[in-house]
Symmetry: C2
């Protein structure tokens, strides 16, 4: 099945307890489409970058089979830039600097060849822009996954609530789920958020795993306990990308298959954090992915 | 198989966001032996209380099949007392007051009828006392589980390290594992702690589940996402009690059976937190336990 992803393609500058980077390539849609490249053939990107974005990175996306017909390159403008600093526990971070640049007035364009997409991944960006992409498709995709964050709950709650009515599934972290629902209990928070629209909800808990909710069903997938978490940047995008692209690959929206999809998402995220930026996600083999998923099976399953 | 438990039998006074209690019955060995009563018949207790301890509660233990021959009642003295206050997130707590009373010079006595015990549960108390119990057994039990806490790492580290050499398995929470090992990564912390003696290690993460380590094997069991956590007091003791008493019931120390034991421990702990103190653990049926374990199976297992 075909996948369409919208989101940022951008520069990141990172500081972690393990080191610093200069400007490297980041952005939600970068992590998502690179991840999806291991699962689907029709891997379509909608994003905007400035003239400063390196052709080499666009070539990397293309070499991974990403369709960049929907990647707008704005002359005379600069790409989105985020500078983040992680705390020692790697679970919290500060934004040192943000430059919106081309994202300030991003007007997503959908190439005609993308119009019949089956799966839509609304990577983290302003809810109004995510909604525009959905509205600009002639036919509603069979599955729409929304990723969002605390910033949009803070500054664009009405847009987010309008969008929530139109999506099938949301990924959000535990703190954001509490913020959006006003409830500390994640089980009750999940019910409140699903009542806002999405039939399925994923609450990400970082190193503590992820919860999948649908009706009264709950599934929990742990994170793999790693010796080192080198850089958590992009882990949430990679997780969402692995989840939706496993669904797109298998074209099966049953709860049992969503469980498998969460495991694939978690496996891909566990690779992501092993290196700075998207380095690890650019260099994976199907054998490595299969072996990692098997590690999750050993870690989480038991027989009574 | 027979189980011997040593630990506190005591009074607790609790404050949670949901309410307060007067003095109620608490103590590690209370939670452990009540939990074990659903699994094993030979359920032997070694503990000390003061003259103020209500006969009614001793009768409750006896009615659950707990052998109280090793429960010393000290005339003219008072029972151990702990007053705790939980924060709003229920994951952290302050000690408002502690009165050691009879625990100050606890000299554990092992009745002759306990001497051939197969499984030994060293419930949370001073490591020197836990070690005494082990040394006072004529025959080493086939499995010794140690539960400990940050207090003993702080004030009795040498005693704890000596004891670690003589036990098979330890349960400890994530913060304490980091404290004891000096390593933030739980995977590396586990290796460090196992090198101190125990072949098997359980790291408890409260609402985030528990990790079981043995050699290079890792198993993760989630906590059940509950709508309400009413009172976490005793959850760790109940967890340890469920773990060891499933092992004692089945007399199977394979890693696969330890996985099941962790699930039983987690299931019992999920009941514990539903009411104040040991109320819920006093009133369970085998049907409720089986149904709860089945909830864990649905929550955690998947097929690839």
């Amino acid at each position: 099945m075909s996948l369409l992803t919208v989101g940022s393609v951008a520069f990141d500058k990172l500081e972690t307890p393990f080191g610093k980077t200069d400007k490297i390539i980041g952005g939600a849609a970068t992590f998502i489409t690179l991840t999806a490249s291991y699962f689907v053939k029709e891997n379509n990107l909608v994003a905007v970058v400035g003239e400063d974005f390196p052709q080499e990175m666009i070539d990397t996306l293309v070499s991974h089979g990403v369709n960049v017909d929907g990647l707008e390159i704005r002359k005379g403008e600069k790409s989105f830039f985020w500078h983040g600093r992680y705390h020692n526990d790697m679970n919290s971070r500060d934004t040192v600097e943000v430059q919106l640049n081309v994202m300030e007035n991003f007007d997503p364009k959908i190439p005609a060849s993308y119009q019949d997409c089956d799966f839509l991944m609304l990577g983290n960006t302003a809810p109004a822009i995510q909604h525009l992409v959905l509205k600009r498709l002639n036919k509603r995709p069979k599955f729409v996954l929304l990723d969002t964050m605390n910033l949009w709950i803070d500054i664009a709650l009405d847009d987010l609530k309008a969008l929530l009515k139109d999506v099938d599934c949301v990924t959000i972290n535990d703190e954001e789920a509490r913020m959006l629902s006003g409830d500390y209990s994640l089980r009750r928070a999940a019910k409140t958020i699903m009542a806002m629209g999405p039939k399925t909800l994923i609450i990400k808990k970082g190193e503590h795993g992820a919860l999948l909710f649908q009706n009264d069903d709950i599934f929990f997938c742990p994170a793999l306990p790693l010796e080192e978490v080198f850089d958590p940047t992009g882990a949430g995008d990679t997780f969402a990308g692995g989840f939706i692209s496993h669904l797109a690959k298998t074209d099966d929206l049953s709860f049992d298959n969503m469980k498998r999809a969460i495991v694939y998402g978690s496996a891909m995220a566990s690779f992501c954090v092993e290196r700075f930026g998207s380095e690890r996600i650019q260099n994976l083999s199907q054998e490595e992915i299969a072996a990692r998923v098997e590690e999750f099976r050993k870690l989480a399953t038991f027989e009574l």
